[in-house]
């Protein structure tokens, strides 16, 4: 079948398909992108927003009510019971964690693979990650039953001087999911800082200016900032990539370390990760297709983006299909009657319908995307993405419930039927998700403004052949009385002009000068002679410290402080410590990357003299600025003014003392 599809596609040999298509359509500029994205936040909410928000909060209230009922009554109000001790709760947990994975894939892994189209969807997907992880965390939290004792999970001895079991996959989950939530939030926040600065500069009310001012930490788009910023961002991407794999791997360990047929199988880790990305991309499409229509940013998130996402959906769907097939084959090949029964029972037993929903939604449905023409129809893709969401929820249900409901002894067989509380909490979790999402699109730009700007052709400092000519007849900004001039600030029309001006300034002997731009300009740090960021060694030291702390700490607890045999594992076994050691390493490194970046940049900072210039409000919009000042001994106001004017600088103004 696939062969036929492929030939069908081949027939028209169009050389134009080899041309790189632009990632965005239309002719966006820096200013138009700022305007388009910020307007969504700044304008009053659309008519549909309030009703949607009300419905979401109602669902959230339902979820809260069900949780309250459960906590005050007991976990028995759910339908789960022996032998099905895990059902909707863990299904929903894995479902939501999985959805989160696409956000990190888009923000981190696609960044490492230089898939620049990700720039216009990563903010959206990262927000989805954080909210999905919040929904996921809800279920294990409720499932512990006595929620006031949840602090027993923390790595400290509890009220009875008992330590948590570091060899338990459930504790690894606590570390993995909380690390993931923390690092994703850091990553998201780091991405938001420059965009908050843009909103700050555009703010019309003091409250907005003040709040966005606090959130942007005094960001001013300096080339020195961007240098550390880009290094930190890359390091975070490098850290998040193994992190995202580890999270669903650890989730899969919840099942695969057991001895239950259907749960214990070695392919679970990569299979769960692929499934997570698959489901996450399904959810990104589900949210993105209506959003881009409602907010009219089809020029930034184009049909081409949808095409790519459909291809990822198809690829990951097939990896999941591979895992389904290998499980079946190996169950037969193992010659183990329990394994064989489990899989036959999945397909033909009491839950056969769940199994076939899963297979048809996850493996068969995405195959439609072999047809290029179907990858171009937003609402068709939307429909498929819904099916993927359904299929992936059922995948977790099938794995969890069908493996449990037939125990080893037929006398212990059972059948799980959900109660209204199960349903209320499942549906209510969507309420939490959409409440957070709808709030997010009101307060933060849902498209990364500065990263989208780097996709513009003019973002390349070599794009402009001829420098913009110097302006004639601008008034002399220097004081006529010959008083002291602490520094000068000039605005440039383009990244190319700023780049050329920086080269000139460097050649004239300036070292401490600074350049400001609304996005990082490739190669500017070299043109300015800035050298490399000092961040990587800091992150390495932090990572190694985290690893040693976790390893030594847990070994000490397991062998000296609280030696306890669990599951026949030796006291000093290293293997079961690896998941937590890994998570702590990543957590420490990520904090070092973010805090180190802000520290190296001297942020947060309340005030800077460039902010006093009205013209500098354009610095995070479409303005490019050069600052020369007396920190360089070669600074001479007259000469500096000449250099700025000659290199195309305009709106030159005199800076105050620090």
């Amino acid at each position: 079948m696939t062969q036929a599809v492929v030939t069908h596609e081949a027939e028209p040999t169009r050389p134009e398909t080899l041309e790189r298509q632009p990632i965005m359509t239309g002719t966006p500029t820096c200013a138009s992108i700022t305007e388009q994205v910020c307007a969504i936040v700044e304008r009053p909410a659309s008519a549909w927003w309030m009703p949607a928000f009300s419905v979401s909060t109602l669902l959230l209230a339902l979820c809260g009510f069900a949780a309250l009922y459960l906590i005050t009554t007991g976990v028995g109000v759910w339908g789960l019971n022996s032998p099905v001790g895990w059902a909707f709760d863990i299904t929903n947990f894995v479902f939501w964690v999985g959805i989160g994975h696409a956000g990190t894939l888009i923000s981190a892994i696609l960044l490492l693979f230089r898939q620049r189209w990700r720039n216009s969807i990563n903010r959206f997907a990262e927000a989805m990650t954080i909210f999905a992880v919040a929904c996921a965390g809800l279920f294990p939290l409720i499932h512990v039953g006595r929620i006031w004792m949840v602090w027993f999970l923390a790595p400290v001895p509890n009220a009875n001087a008992i330590w948590p079991n570091f060899r338990s996959p459930l504790l690894w989950d606590v570390f993995a999911v909380s690390t993931y939530a923390t690092v994703s939030t850091l990553f998201w926040f780091v991405g938001l800082v420059p965009d908050f600065a843009t909103l700050r500069d555009r703010a019309t009310t003091p409250l907005k200016r003040w709040s966005y001012g606090i959130l942007s930490l005094g960001w001013r788009g300096s080339a020195r900032h961007w240098l550390n910023y880009e290094t930190a961002y890359l390091l975070l991407a490098g850290l998040s990539t193994p992190l995202v794999l580890s999270v669903h791997t650890v989730v899969s360990f919840d099942f695969a370390t057991s001895v239950i047929p259907g749960w214990h199988t070695t392919i679970f880790p990569p299979y769960f990760v692929a499934g997570a990305i698959f489901s996450g991309f399904g959810m990104v499409l589900t949210l993105m297709i209506p959003a881009r229509q409602l907010f009219h940013f089809e020029n930034l998130v184009t049909d081409r983006h949808l095409d790519f996402m459909c291809q990822v959906l198809m690829a990951t769907g097939m990896i999941v299909g591979y895992a389904y097939a290998m499980e079946f084959f190996t169950a037969w090949y193992s010659a183990n009657p329990y394994e064989q029964f489990t899989f036959i029972n999945r397909a033909l037993g009491p839950y056969w319908w769940a199994y076939w929903i899963m297979v048809s939604c996850n493996v068969l449905t995405p195959q439609v995307f072999w047809f290029k023409s179907l990858r171009n129809r937003p609402w068709f893709i939307f429909g498929i993405s819904i099916l993927v969401n359904v299929g992936m929820w059922f995948e977790r249900f099938v794995i969890i419930v069908t493996s449990l409901h037939r125990d080893f002894l037929p006398s212990s067989w059972g059948y799980f039927i959900p109660t209204w509380v199960d349903f209320a909490q499942f549906i209510g979790s969507f309420g939490l998700f959409f409440t957070l999402f709808l709030l997010f699109i009101r307060v933060a730009p849902m498209i990364t403004i500065f990263e989208v700007k780097t996709l513009l052709p003019e973002a390349d400092p070599h794009s402009q052949r001829e420098p913009t000519p110097p302006v004639e007849g601008e008034a002399d900004p220097l004081p006529t009385d010959g008083s002291f001039v602490p520094g000068l600030l000039a605005r440039y029309e383009s990244a190319s002009d700023l780049y050329a001006a920086c080269k000139k300034a460097k050649a004239a002997g300036y070292k401490h000068f600074d350049a400001y731009s609304p996005f990082p300009i490739h190669g500017l740090e070299k043109a300015m002679g800035l050298g490399k960021s000092k961040l990587p060694p800091m992150v390495l030291v932090a990572g190694v410290s985290g690893a040693l702390l976790a390893l030594v700490g847990m070994l000490w607890v397991n062998t000296v402080e609280y030696p306890l045999i669990t599951a026949g594992k030796p006291y000093g076994a290293i293997e079961p410590l690896i998941p937590i050691v890994f998570e702590v390493t990543i957590l420490f490194s990520a904090f070092a990357a973010v805090l180190g970046m802000f520290a190296l940049n001297g942020l947060p900072r309340y005030h800077h003299r460039v902010f006093e210039k009205e013209i500098f409000k354009r610095s995070m919009d479409d303005g490019f600025f050069l600052m020369l000042d007396t920190r360089d001994h070669c600074f001479d106001a007259r000469e500096a003014l000449k250099l700025m004017r000659e290199s195309g600088g305009r709106d030159v103004c005199v800076l105050d003392r620090k």
């Binding site: 081949a10 398909t17 360990f253 214990h264 070695t266 880790p269």
Partner: protein, 400 residues
Amino acid sequence: MSKTDTVSDVNVRLDPAHVARARVILGGVFLGAAALSAIGWLFWAQSFYVSYLIGFLFALSIALGALFWVLIHHLVDAAWSVVVRRPMEFLTASLPYVGIFFMPIVFGMGWIFPWAGAEVDVATHFVPEKRAFLNTPFFLLRAVFYFVVWAYLARRAIAPSWRQDESGDVGETLSLRRIAPVGLILLGVTSTFASIDWIMSLEPDWFSTIFGVYFWSGAIVASLSMITLMVLCLRQIPKYHAIVTEEHLHDLGKLLFGFVVFWAYIAFSQYFLIWYANIPEETVWYIRRTEGPWGLIAVAVGIGNFVVPFCLLLRRDAKRSVWILGFSAAWLLGFHWLDLYWQIEPVYRPEGPVFSLLDIVNVVLFLSAGAWMTLGVADGRSLVPKQDPRLQESLAFENV
């Protein structure tokens, strides 16, 4: 500033005289190794067959990995890797001939595969129940199927690229892009079952669902190491040196680093889940390979394939350094062999590894044969896909 201006001459070939001389030497080495191998077969048949199988899988994984790299390059429409694609294609070109090298394994089936021997039902527990899969005719049929698929895919994945050198037809790129997804699916399925047939079934009672992925992850690292080494050697040619810059090496280094981590992830997942669940029918495989003298080899496999290359390649400068990158690639090739040795040899020598000259002879045999074929393919061909529509982009490539 723009590098495209400086690299105008992409017409690079190997010197035919050098190739001819090298091929004569390689042919001699191959014949010598074959003769030694044949002596080994006469006197120590069991040792011969096992070391031959390891050598075969070592070479095969490099060729299959190369096919993977070619296909993935076209699938994702990569640009940076155009200038380093030829080494991948040269390695892939030997795939149609691997079937010939499988012949000795067919003859030695009774020696190699416990389930194909005479006293099998006594020696193992579950083989009778697996007879539908583990039987000689079906095994051979599957092998033939794999070889046919690989030969077909190799052809489809490289022939258009050769033709494009002459014609410059972008339609060839489109045809490569069409075969890529189908090819990767076929490659994934066939190599999974090949690894089950040729490695996992050596212990017919044992099973692991991730085994196919474990095999690929090693194959992908090994072939990328070989490709990197080939690129570094070709950079001795000044023209090629100007085309393939540090930027391209940096990317090869990044991929190598990434897949080293991927291998570790898969290897750890398999080990860890079996270790943790502690079910005897599964742990037996690891107990045989982690206790006694084999335990030292197990540690060496882990450190050699993960810890050392991870530390070596972590830094940015290391990935751009010819010496560190080259050393890591050569090191990884060696430890990929050790990984295969550690998976296969304990079946026959449970008491511990024994140094055998035949192991080395068989590696030399396959490497010389592979090099001989690869040079034969490379001879007279451009070392850069000179008419590829993404070539300019690849030449101008710079890491951000």
